[in-house]
Amino acid sequence: ILGGRTSRPGRWPWQCSLQSEPSGHICGCVLIGNKWALTVAHCFEGRESADVWKVVLGINNLDHPSPYMQSRHVKSIIVHSRYNRAVVDYDISVLELESEVEVTSYVRPVCLPGRGQLPKADQYCHITGWGHVGLRMPFKLQEGEVRIISVSQCQSYFDMKTITSRMLCAGYEAGTIDSCMGDSGGPLVCEEDDGRWSLYGLTSWGSVCFSKVLGPGVYANVTHFTEWIERQIYLRTFNL
């Protein structure tokens, strides 16, 4: 996260780290159920086998495992069949964990938005991740507050790319606070009126975040996929 700050342990209990040896942390992910997490499809390019991945939850400092940390192997990866690598469209995948996590203060699922439930333009939401902070990769989870940007405004920043209805933009024109490489698959969450947090976006793509070409970040629009996610979980749960 560029322009963010170090997060307090347990503040974002749905944030997880998707790891693969020998590199360790590759992407962010988000816990949405006791044995289900979401991330983006592009994290699996070239590494589509579930065997090579594990999900680490309840962690703040990647370099110092905490007593609250839980680790699960990945049982299956469901990449959206319409994922388009060139456009980075339909950039979403569901992860089935090998076993259920234990829900604690440090490991808790986030809510999925209802069908059609979108954040309002100009609403402030939060992004989190262990991605680049500028010149280095941080060990501690970073958080940043970003503003939701309308599709039409977002499109004006990316004249060579198409912003589809499967995408959501958030950030600032000047790129002051933005997600960056290594944050992919992590959450864009907004607080609802009742104090719950809902997952509206998954960090997907944007301009090269520490270049001079700035603009908002582009996130997979989770609302568009709510029904798809529920179906994938249902089909897997009942082996259909």
Binding site: R108, C111, Y234, L235, F238
Partner: protein, 374 residues
């Protein structure tokens, strides 16, 4: 030929490729090179005038990229015609021989376009020495000249009003590429090679029609995609599946859509099961708490809060569509609810239907921040 004996027939003109059982001696072949499919002739013969031995080799050659790029500079109206006469030479249907471009066509192309190439540091293709081509009107030889109204843009190009050819992908892309801006005029879906949703006028790719994913806001792209008979139902991906297999607990549509949305709760909280295209209530006879868990889980909800058997006073016994719990059901088997219920033909003995309340899984709460007295 090194691998076999000499090819027979064709007077030495055949290649050694013996994958064709019968050698085709004509040597003429249909033009498949996309950039040259607007020519006034449609058969060619190899090798071409650049030394390529097949259309595949031509399609991967430097020249087949160079000429379409060069034609965009509008250096010579007939450049693409000339390029194609050397890339895919015309094959004379009578003599089965190549027909070359006329020398004047070659010279005009070279004179007008070579300098343009020079600006960007490129060279005119070496093998196009114009002296090798005959002069027009020369005795005992024929050569090709462009028809004045030859279509100088290939199918993969858009012709600007000024006559310049620009790549079709540049048409209606939001950037002006024609010198007269005509590539950004009348940018409807059809002009962009796309399909227009009748309702919201969105343009979508043709391969998105009937692919099981609605792309138009009113889903017109997924209408009329199959012709299922009356005893069949249509999967989301437009396969047809027999009505009796719909919501039976096993997948029959390849996208599993026959097993989606089979169980729901009515506004009053009654368990409603859609099976074989009909709507059913569930008879309370044989119901158990395990089944309540199955139902709540598959509806994406959490644990059951309560499951009540409510006397069905709304209908005369026997006239309602009931589903009964399969007596052989084993709680160890992870079947969706619709796979555990069956029609038995008789009415529900208790006349009670299942009403269910499920909790929502806890989500989205962060632990309260620890407070420290200061």
């Amino acid at each position: 030929c090194t691998s076999t004996s000499c090819s027979s027939g064709c007077h030495g003109n055949t290649s050694c490729d013996l994958r064709n059982a019968s050698n085709n001696c004509s040597g003429c072949e249909p033009i498949s090179l996309e950039i040259c499919m607007n020519l006034p002739y449609n058969s060619t013969r190899f090798p071409n005038y650049l030394g390529h031995h097949s259309q595949k080799e031509t399609s991967m050659s430097w020249e087949s990229s160079l000429f379409p790029a060069l034609v965009q500079t509008n250096c010579y109206k007939y450049l693409m015609f000339f390029a194609c006469t050397v890339l895919v030479p015309m094959c004379d249907p009578v003599t089965q021989q190549r027909v070359p471009p006329c020398r004047s066509l070659c010279r005009n192309s070279k004179e007008r376009c070579e300098s343009v190439l020079g600006i960007v540091g490129l060279q005119w293709p070496e093998d196009t020495d114009c002296a090798q081509f005959p002069e027009e009107g020369q005795a005992n030889s024929s050569c090709l000249l462009p028809d004045p109204d030859v279509n100088e843009c290939s199918p993969s190009h858009f012709k600007c009003r000024s006559g310049r050819c620009v790549l079709s992908s540049k048409r209606c892309d939001g950037h002006t590429d024609c010198d007269d801006d005509s590539d950004e005029e009348t940018c409807g879906c059809v002009e962009r090679g796309l399909w227009e949703c009748p309702g919201d006028k969105t343009c979508i790719h043709h391969n998105m029609i009937c692919d099981g994913f609605p792309d138009c806001s009113q889903q017109e792209d997924e209408n009329n995609c199959s012709a299922c008979s009356s005893h069949e139902m249509e999967c989301t991906n437009h396969q047809c599946v027999h009505r009796s297999l719909w919501c039976d607990g096993s997948r029959h549509c390849s996208d599993s859509s026959d097993e989606w949305n089979c169980v729901s709760l009515s506004d009053e909280g009654f368990v409603t099961v859609h099976k074989a295209g009909m709507e059913y209530r569930v008879c309370a006879d044989g119901w158990s708490s395990n089944l309540s868990s199955v139902a709540c889980t598959q509806m994406g909800l959490g644990s059951p809060l309560s499951a009540d058997a409510v006397l069905d006073v709304s209908s005369a016994a026997g006239r309602r569509h009931w589903l009964h719990v399969d007596p052989d059901w084993n709680p160890q088997n992870m079947f969706p609810l619709q796979g555990l219920l069956e029609k038995r033909g008789q009415s529900c003995t208790s006349s009670k239907k299942i009403s269910l309340k499920c909790t929502r899984d806890k989500c989205g709460r962060r632990p309260a921040a620890r407070m420290v007295k200061r």
